[in-house]
Symmetry: C2
Subunit: 526 residues, 2 copies
Amino acid sequence: MFSTAELGQKLSKKEFKKIETVLRRELLEAQRQLRERALTPVIIIFAGVDGAGKGMTVNRLNEWMDTRWLINRAYREPTDEEIERPEFWRYWRDLPPKGRIGLFLSAWYSKPVLDQAYGNTSIFQLDKRIDRILAFENALAEDGALILKFWMHLSRDAQEIRYKMLEKDPLLSWKVTKKDWDHWRRYDTFIAAAERVVMRTNMANAKWTIVEGSDDKFSGISVANTILDALRKQLDKSQENNNTTTPMPNTTTLTHSGNPQKLQSVVNVKGKPQRDNKPVQLLSSKTVFSHLDMSPCLNKPDYKLQLKTLQARLNLLHRNALQIGISTIVIFEGPDAAGKGGAIRRMIPALDPHIYQVLPFAAPTEEERAQHYLWRFWRHLPRAGHVTIFDRSWYGRVLVERVEGFATEQEWCRAYSEINDFEEQLVMQGSVLVKFWIHITKKEQLKRFKARQKTPYKNWKLTDEDWRNRAKWKEYEMAAHDMVQYTSLPTSPWVLVEGNNKYFARIKVLQTLVNAIEKGIASVVS
Amino acid sequence: MFSTAELGQKLSKKEFKKIETVLRRELLEAQRQLRERALTPVIIIFAGVDGAGKGMTVNRLNEWMDTRWLINRAYREPTDEEIERPEFWRYWRDLPPKGRIGLFLSAWYSKPVLDQAYGNTSIFQLDKRIDRILAFENALAEDGALILKFWMHLSRDAQEIRYKMLEKDPLLSWKVTKKDWDHWRRYDTFIAAAERVVMRTNMANAKWTIVEGSDDKFSGISVANTILDALRKQLDKSQENNNTTTPMPNTTTLTHSGNPQKLQSVVNVKGKPQRDNKPVQLLSSKTVFSHLDMSPCLNKPDYKLQLKTLQARLNLLHRNALQIGISTIVIFEGPDAAGKGGAIRRMIPALDPHIYQVLPFAAPTEEERAQHYLWRFWRHLPRAGHVTIFDRSWYGRVLVERVEGFATEQEWCRAYSEINDFEEQLVMQGSVLVKFWIHITKKEQLKRFKARQKTPYKNWKLTDEDWRNRAKWKEYEMAAHDMVQYTSLPTSPWVLVEGNNKYFARIKVLQTLVNAIEKGIASVVS
């Protein structure tokens, strides 16, 4: 899930300065209102990879905000006093009261992740600790606390470079200890533990924001902006609850985004606070898709050859899977005209019609609307050994339903963990689950739409809705970014397929699927 | 916790008939409205001890309600179809749609409890299963489903009697199998597992109701009445949300009680539906306190002798506890003038002033009100080896705050699990936790109030508030009953002290405390 925070996002010094000025003013104003109205305690947690700028971010916030109403908390080994009480005593006594903001460094997340990374706890013990965190945060959130959690990310390589740079500087080399290198050597197990913890503690009322930590100017602005957004939302909400219709001074209602990197913010280009509800795109916000190299191509002869080989392989494999009872569940998501149907049609010839089905999902039926949104997918789960292909899926909740407003923010926010729970059950039961996001560029989509208009037998495929969706390209991309971020479990990651070249995309899909089924069979047979 | 459902509550045939007539009419009406407005799915679960009448209750509901809109589900070993899918697939496909009621027999609660009782799972595995249930029910409840869960209880002896009676009847003996007797022999482990499951799955949006199952007429009416209450509440709520001000036909707003045995219901004595908001007390509702034998006395010489002995013992023990670092936390709750202060004063002479403190709790301070309600108790947790006596405690949330409306129903409902989580942390950390409810009869309280009025140096103790609280005796008793029910964990049970005789009460308190500290020390030393 953290790969969504390896996009190389940066801010120049000039950009940083420009935003900083406005952001500081607005942060102070929000903080003032929070304090005067003594609305709610604000609990902000900074966890993540060492060197990703947790400490620097806390320092910056102290610089930018009114320190009289900030509480900073970092934790070392428990004191005598603390050892003699339950583990959470130190956190309880440090909680900020209503109207104040507490900045917590790692806090209750540090030990569970590290103990797991160092192999000191079993998965059950880790889960037990996660339960305790959930109960703690939930009790506070239900009581009205605003909880914001930032996971500051850095790739393994970036962490190494950061440490080496620090070591070279005689004034900063003290910052890197032997322990830091120990941690670094365990980067992968650390990340695996962190993914589980972050995923399972990502609640609608205490959400994680994953922050790219490679550029401290970017991450600083990104964090501060998310905090400002959340504070304003809280202030607006309480305003509504009070039934006062007078608008707050100096504030803007900002469209909330689940996406941290999206700096839809605060200020317009001239640095003036906005007065309407439209967020302004300050930076070209990057998504995980901006990272994709969309150039790879495959020529027709190569494509044909590989297609044949892979189809033969798939045919063999899916019959083996049937014999040992391994089900395969394949999901396709992606923009309109990305080539989902085409990819599916290249799979079908390889499959035995007795044991596969393709299920297209559009708007739910009346019967389905009378149930929980996951119900219609549960009912279609395949029998052992069967192959089910979902052309669009349960991710509609966090894509189209989110963007079009068919689901409330509450609803799509909690869908991430509901979906993770659902997929965990599928995988635990032994199914092979493969999730494809076929991506195309906006330009490529236009080309395909126009081609459809011209080709009589493809004409029906293009509807007004397709054009309407295209107009919301950015919103859909943001939603998809969040989806990839919050639902890429180690056991069911998203596979991003570069789809501008159809041949390439189809082969990548087939190859991935074949590999996944092979792996699934091997895990049972061995 | 289930001992609160061993009160021997009964209904005569005549009483039953009278209530049944009205209840049926009202149930049908509520069901009709639910269906016509297709408001929400209703999921009702019946779990509990075999022989406590789960099946009979489901049958009765089918008799009383419109079966066209009822869905009955009982589960045996999973079918081929079901084995090939994740465990919860069978439950997902059986879910009722909006406007319908699903009656589920044991369902997803059966296997976790039985596997644990038979020693097939570890506590970690049980907790993992509980997590899955929580995620499942929470997803449905957040989506708007109304979830009601009934735990039908029967004591070990009552179960034995029930089985033997059935076995004697040639027409009914088929009902008792070898498996039933196997289960019965494991009654205690079964109950221990069930307590953990019920306690941990008792959520504000999916609450358990513990039902005394020894008299099927009583349990049938009790269950149906709780269902009716919940349906009406749901209907009223949706009415409010729709902003329609027209009252619903044929319905009454009923005061909700967390207490299942409290038949504050539906009908007045003449069997007419109520038109106002006042609940009518149909039966003399019993609480766990009605079970207490309030007669035991102790004469003064015996009291003095035992007091001396126990104080000496306590002195020795609490110094031992200090040496090995075991903290002791003692809680006192009970009606005004129950003798909490007197009991505390008899402990103090035995304690070293360096290592104990008595903390009286009344209304929270301003500083405390700016925090979560548990915060002010967390901050007073003792250092290792110390003794802290709480004169009133965190249970204020579910007692005075509930009765006086200082906490919303949402707030005090979720407090049960928050408190359980809190106390679990205390016990896990090694503290000895003893919770006393000192009980007196209403008559005894009056006597003491009058004595206070007359005795000049006790006069100050009696305030107007005491009289006001006395007027709400029944509500306070109900709240205390629910408290005992939902927060008597195996590791921190409530100790009910018969307080009409002060000598007896003080000795019972001291004796219990001494035993608890002894046990705590032994568990560390051994």
